[in-house]
């Protein structure tokens, strides 16, 4: 057990845990950030996606010790920002949400995409979402959701 500090959604937190504990488990169990979901535990599905130092990563593949000193942002950290609200509203209007289990991860992937490319075309969107698996939607309406977010949020990113 070690005391490990990192920045979580803008606030410094200190977690006493084994440094090999998965960041996913730290976020869900120690920090109660249950917007981060476990879909596969092997980096395939993106349900546990968070931002680490500004880029999209899968929290199931990161041991806590590797996140020491990093800035971690979970869905809880963006859902009430202007960007987060824009994505959530766009997903709602597009019909992008079905069972919802993949959706917080999709929101994180969308945030990461729009940060580096605020006018993505359909193929760029599909590429950016390719690590976030969804079994309900067939992706069409999620792609549409990202398009709507990009149109409406052109001044945000």
């Amino acid at each position: 057990m070690k005391e490990i500090k990192f920045i979580l959604n803008g606030k410094e937190v200190s977690v006493k845990a084994d440094p090999l504990k998965r960041l996913l488990d730290v976020l869900r169990e120690d920090e109660k950030m249950t917007g981060v979901k476990e879909g596969c535990g092997e980096g395939e599905c993106g349900a546990c996606a968070v931002l680490k130092d500004g880029v999209l990563v899968n929290s199931c593949m990161i041991p806590l010790g590797a996140a020491e000193g990093s800035e971690i942002v979970t869905p809880e950290g963006i859902r009430e920002t202007d960007k987060g609200k824009c994505i959530i509203d766009a997903f709602g209007d597009a019909g992008a949400v079905q069972c919802g289990f993949c959706t917080p991860g999709m929101m994180m992937a969308t945030e990461a995409l729009l940060t580096i490319n605020n006018k993505p075309d359909e193929s760029e969107i599909r590429e950016a979402l390719s690590g976030n698996l969804c079994r309900c939607t067939g992706y069409d309406l999620i792609v549409k959701g990202v398009q709507i977010a990009s149109e409406r949020g052109k001044d945000l990113w």
């Binding site: 109660k32 879909g39 859902r79 987060g84 949400v97 069972c99 919802g100 917080p104 698996l133 992706y139």
Partner: protein
Amino acid sequence: MVGAIHELPIKGWIDTKGVKMGARISIPVRRIDAKEKAGGWTKYIGDYQFKNLQHGRFLRSERARAKIIEIKKPDFPEGYYYIDASDIPSSGKNNIQMIKDDWRVFAVSDVKYIGETIAVILGPDKQKVLDLLNRIEVIYEDLVPAFTFDDALSCKGGAVYGDNNIFSEYLLNVGNVDNAFKDAVKIVEGKYETGFQEHLYMETQGLVGAWEDEKITIYASSQCPFYIRKSVAVTLGVPVEDIRVRQTTTGGAFGGKEHFPDVIATPLAVAVNKVKKPVAMIYDRIEDISFTSKRHPSKITIKTGLDKSNNIIAMDIDTLVNGGAYESSTTIVLQRAILHGIGVYNIPNARIRGRAVATNTFPSDAYRGFGAPQGLFAIEMHMSHVADELGLDSSDFRRKHFIKTNDITITNAKMHDDVKLPEMFEKIDEMSDYSSKVKEFANDPVKGIGIAFVNHGGGFTGNGEQAIIKGVVKMKRLEGGKAGLYVSVVEMGQGLQTTMRKIAAKELGLDYEDIVYDNPDTDIVPDSGPTCASRSIMVVGFLVQECAKKLKAKWNEGVGVEAEDVYKHPDGLVWEQETLQGDAYPSYGWGINVIEVEFDPVTYEVKTTGIWAVWDIGVAIDETIMQGQSSGGVIQALGYASIEKCELKNGTFMQHTMADYTIPTSLDFPKVETCFIDNPYKYGPSGAKGAGELVFDAAPPAYAEAVQNAIGKRIYDIPVTPEMIMEALK
């Protein structure tokens, strides 16, 4: 009227291409659960905090068929438990009461498949539970297992079930098949096989059992809270009222959470009954892929006799499905496979023999379509092969044989539906340019296009809604101009929380957001039946509509006034369950898919370049939600047809991680161009029929036909892998 519908802010997405939509109810609203889910506020079973939570994990069989000689256990520390069949109360029984009750809660003295539950190990610390589990040694005496259809039919190693491994057998017959074959001038035969399919809902199986208010409460990611209640009550030998089941928001199900949660809930309840503490059984992904039910594999042989005008005069079909080690719902799956066995065609003399076999594989169970996709794949491919054999256009040949209203079905009843397949074909032809592409691609070395025509019976087979379910719904006037809706069907991603509210709100003249509809709790809602069989909107939604009318009539009696509605079978429908004769379904959804592909002659990989879908689902309760169902169902079906390979080797699924069992990503397939035609059904809410399974049915044969046209070789099996294409081209 519809109260305060929110117009979709971005126009033009739902492109109905000039086809008239039905009632105004179809205008999309923002899903009631969208915001909370998208932002991660919504809690799923793994997100809840339970005080003093214990973690359970199954001790599972590592052998496909063996006697258990001995189980060597380490000493369990204080607070850690080994729960097995001996912990079932004497009033209960070691059976899981599903459709059949042959599946055992815990294996005792022998095991019948790899992964069969032997015991639950539980305690407060997961690592310690795992360490205990790893120190348990089960001594087996191996027996000879049966895995394949041939193994099953030859009773390899002795029968797994009964004395012949046949769970059930049916014979459907219309006309006089043997005589008709005598008149045939040409006979075409083919054998078609489909594989296992894993549901791969994004949220794995998960239940928590708790001891609350002196009774067992099961919190479940589930399609059917009342199924769980019944099975747990039977296992423990207590009245159903002593068990409470609360559905938690369910992260996808697709049939995988219809019966299978009972397989977890029953041993879990035995454990909770013993330790009187909350216990979580939440699968991780590897466990979920390795040890949950899959879609039934099938092997279907079809023989067709034709007259000199190339009309089909006789058809003889032999259908086999692999049910695995226990029957569970297999017989009903077989029924659906054969009831959809001649597809959308009028065949004057047809016979279908259907058999469900037992093997030492993980028991197969419900998966979106419930047998129909298997039957429809076979008949659609066969029709394509017959056309090819005759040198005819595949779509023309099939269209010539379309069933029409009042034609006789395979169960010797009249087709009551207003069949609009010809109009639907015109529509999809216009959308996809199908007819001209067929000609254009005929000599193209890499491009191909395929089409498939399907229907899907809505609701339970025959009179099941009346005889078995008898669904009940309740509504109540609440404070503040709101109304409560009490039903047992669940939201699992298909949009029910929104569509049910729309149906109720339309009758009551309320905003859909003013309808209160929580995740079902068996202590609160009446039993409106399970969430399956494309019945929720068509059957339960209709009850909601009728119940809302009753509540509206009583509305002025004040807050607290209630209304109830109970299922009544539509007049004039007859059914004989033993022989499967009569009106097999109250109505059908209808669909056509066109798929366009391009294959790479170097790698044999197939790229899908276009997908079109036209559906008759009566009326869409919400166009956007139905667009989501269409895209989602078609893409899931294309996974089944192409990349979702699930091979059984010595009783184990070889693909057991998400990396190896590959489902489609956002880059695997293009957008599904969808259109709905309007064809209201009298006994559906605002004319709506079942839709959730229909959208799965057409893509596999349409895809396989597109590939066969691209490569110039016939396809008989799915998934169509590049490996298979390479072999076909050798």
